[in-house]
């Protein structure tokens, strides 16, 4: 117990309260942990083990074969080449899409807050509409547009779609962050002789890192987990991993290799998990170094 804890009355009601609080926390933790536990345990069993044991029993023999199969041999439709290629597809889609939408969001937020111009608020309000547009409405027009510009069924096409849909969100994040920055910073930099992009790059970006964290985590998770655009605009080898996973799991012929399915699920979910754990930690540590204070 630290010395600077707040003082609480200690009595029977205090302990009853504590038991209740920790009880609730345990229940909620279990709700989130059990599915993960089932998935991971099942992915480490062979098929006999799965059939004979209960869903929560520990593997009799731990095997990594399902993981190997998921990566190299799992069948997506008729092609049994595993998830590896689709995993790469998803990265090839998500990384440029996150980078481009975030970069445009930064410039939008900066221009809308630090270089106020007539109609800035109107433009921001119009951009915000993008946040509320349901994806389904634009599927057909978007398919037409992708066809006309020759990007149908391709990763660059998906990148374009995700950038377009990401800009309202990233603009919202950066605009709302930068509106709180002191306006004198940009004035001072202008007096010092810096131009629009020099000020952005040297002064504004270094203090906007917390906002980059939010934008990158949000965009990466959304784009990686996207299903509807991937399913609509791609097929065959160009699919992102989420579509491939669906096709692996939803086969209706033969024996279902549950262990391979579970391994595929974990593989598909890992990148977003890593973004949360590492990106979040790394960036927040940079934030705490005191660069923004004052």
């Amino acid at each position: 117990m630290k010395d600077d804890d707040i003082v609480l009355a200690r009595g029977p009601s205090f302990y009853v309260g504590r038991v209740f609080i920790y009880g609730c926390l345990l229940v909620f933790a279990a709700v989130y942990v059990f599915p993960l536990l089932v998935v991971v345990l099942t992915s480490l069993k062979d098929l006999d083990d799965i059939r004979s044991g209960s869903i929560l029993s520990l593997p009799v023999r731990v095997t990594l074969q399902p993981w190997y199969d998921a990566w190299f041999n799992a069948c997506v439709g008729l092609r049994c080449t595993g998830l590896a290629g689709f995993f790469a597809n998803s990265f090839a889609m998500a990384i440029p899409a996150v980078a481009i939408s975030t970069a445009i969001g930064v410039i939008n937020g900066y221009a809308l807050t630090q270089w106020r111009f007539r109609g800035a608020d109107l433009i921001f309000a119009l951009l915000l509409f993008g946040v509320f547009i349901p994806y389904q409405i634009v599927l057909i027009p978007m398919a037409r547009v992708l066809g006309i510009i020759g990007l149908a069924n391709s990763i660059p096409g998906l990148i374009l779609v995700h950038v377009v849909f990401g800009i309202p969100f990233t603009t919202l994040f950066f605009r709302n962050f930068m509106i709180s920055l002191p306006g004198d910073l940009v004035s001072a930099a202008r007096v010092d002789g810096a131009g629009f992009f020099q000020i952005l790059w040297r002064v504004i970006v270094p203090i906007s890192i917390p906002c980059f964290v939010v934008s990158i985590i949000w965009q990466f998770t959304n784009i990686w987990n996207d299903y509807i655009f991937g399913a609509t605009f791609t097929s065959g080898d160009g699919m992102p991993i989420t579509i491939a996973l669906n096709n692996i799991v939803n086969t209706s012929t033969g024996v279902k290799p549950y262990n391979v399915h579970m391994a595929s699920v974990v593989i598909t979910a890992l990148p977003t998990l890593f973004v949360y754990i590492f990106a979040g930690r790394y960036f927040l540590r940079g934030l705490m170094a005191g660069s923004v204070k004052g």
């Binding site: 910073l185 270094p206 005191g290």
Partner: protein, 366 residues
């Protein structure tokens, strides 16, 4: 050396006038203070000089060359902001070097210039720190350093001391004045603090509601305020304003302070110094600074009057005394302890610095 001329500067936000027809000429090496209450347009004027705002009409000329259409980075000015506006992600050395870097000065020269400025401002030991790790006074020095490093034509200060605590403010004020004496650059300085304005300025320009009220030396502004606004805004405690009429008494003229109402004490008559020429018979306001009162006579023609002292506020070296004169409340600044308690007292009045105002036009009567 640099001169600055502001001619008929007006600025509107939509239909709202922020500055109206401001004319000021600033000579080379001058320290001009723009003084006024908040919202009077002084910061807007400074930002217009810097090129951060457009003006609606008028002309800003630096060294005789109109800069209305020159963007701020090409006006060769440096500015210190109220919030200091240091770049949070850069070290102190990078902050100070930034204006040089933006003007493509090679790294070697840059380091030399930064080191010189740091030495001048005694912040050499802070060069590797980030602004977040500095105290208010240190940040202030860094902000001044960033303005000094480039040797600009014109220095602009936007309320640079208002975020400091009282003690530090006085200290930095002295340092700013020393700095100006040493480098002698033309400086425009915005503040709402009249003490700061009086101590620093070679000339003060007083603004109210976007209109220039008076431009003059601290002495002129204090002793010969051009109107009632300047008279009451400059000086603390404020100037006493007493309704009066000037009367002819044979060869002499005297000032009669009108009683506030029937029940008040009889009006008070004061002799006028010979050179003052206020019109006879008109209703006027007599302006007397608190230090125009004294418990002992001023010179030979001093004039003692009986007053009723209501309150004494000691400030250390002096007492601020509230008293009643012909039913009006007035304030005197006198030596500590010369009146020891409220009640009847006699005060001499020094009429040499008395000023008169027309209550209708609010202008000073010459």
């Amino acid at each position: 050396m640099t001169t600055l001329a502001l001619e008929k500067i007006s600025k509107y936000y939509g239909q709202v006038p922020v500055l109206t027809d401001v004319n000021i000429k600033v000579g080379s090496g001058e320290f001009l203070v723009l003084l006024g209450p908040s919202g009077c347009g002084k910061s807007t004027l400074l930002h217009a000089i810097a090129g951060l705002h457009r003006i609606t009409s008028g002309d800003i000329a630096i060294d005789g060359r109109s800069v209305n259409e020159v963007p701020c980075q090409d006006r060769d000015i440096a500015m210190v902001f109220q919030s200091y506006a240091l770049y949070p992600s850069m070290t102190v050395a990078k902050n100070i070097g930034f204006p040089l870097e933006m003007r493509k000065i090679p790294a070697g020269e840059r380091e030399k210039a930064v080191a010189e400025v740091a030495k001048l401002l005694r912040i050499e030991h802070l060069l590797d720190r980030k602004p977040g790790q500095l105290s208010g006074g240190q940040r202030q020095r860094v902000a001044i350093g960033r303005a000094l490093v480039r040797d600009p034509k014109l220095f602009l200060f936007d309320e640079p001391l208002s975020n400091l605590d009282a003690l530090l403010r006085v200290e930095m004020r002295t340092e700013l004045k020393k700095l100006h004496q040493r480098i002698g650059k033309t400086t425009i300085y915005v503040t709402h603090d009249q003490v700061e304005a009086m101590t620093l300025a070679t000339r003060i320009a007083i603004l109210n509601k976007g209109v220039l009220q008076q431009v003059g030396t601290p002495y002129e502004v204090y002793n010969r305020p051009s109107n009632l606004f300047v008279a009451t805004f400059v000086g603390s405690p404020a100037m006493n304003l007493l309704p009066c009429v000037v009367e002819q008494k044979g060869a002499d003229r005297v000032v009669r302070i009108n009683a506030r109402n029937e029940g008040s004490k009889a009006s008070v008559r004061l002799p006028l110094p010979n050179d003052a020429m206020p019109p006879v018979g008109a209703d006027l306001l007599l302006g007397l600074r608190p230090e125009a009162f004294s418990p002992v006579k001023f010179g030979t023609d001093g004039h003692l009057i009986k007053v009723q002292v209501t309150l004494i506020e000691p400030t250390g070296p002096e007492d601020i005394v509230l008293f009643d004169i012909a039913g009006h409340e007035a304030v005197a600044r006198i030596g500590a302890g010369s009146i020891d308690q409220p009640g009847q007292a006699a005060l001499a009045i020094d009429m040499r610095n008395a000023v008169f105002f027309d209550p209708k036009t609010e202008l000073r009567v010459q």
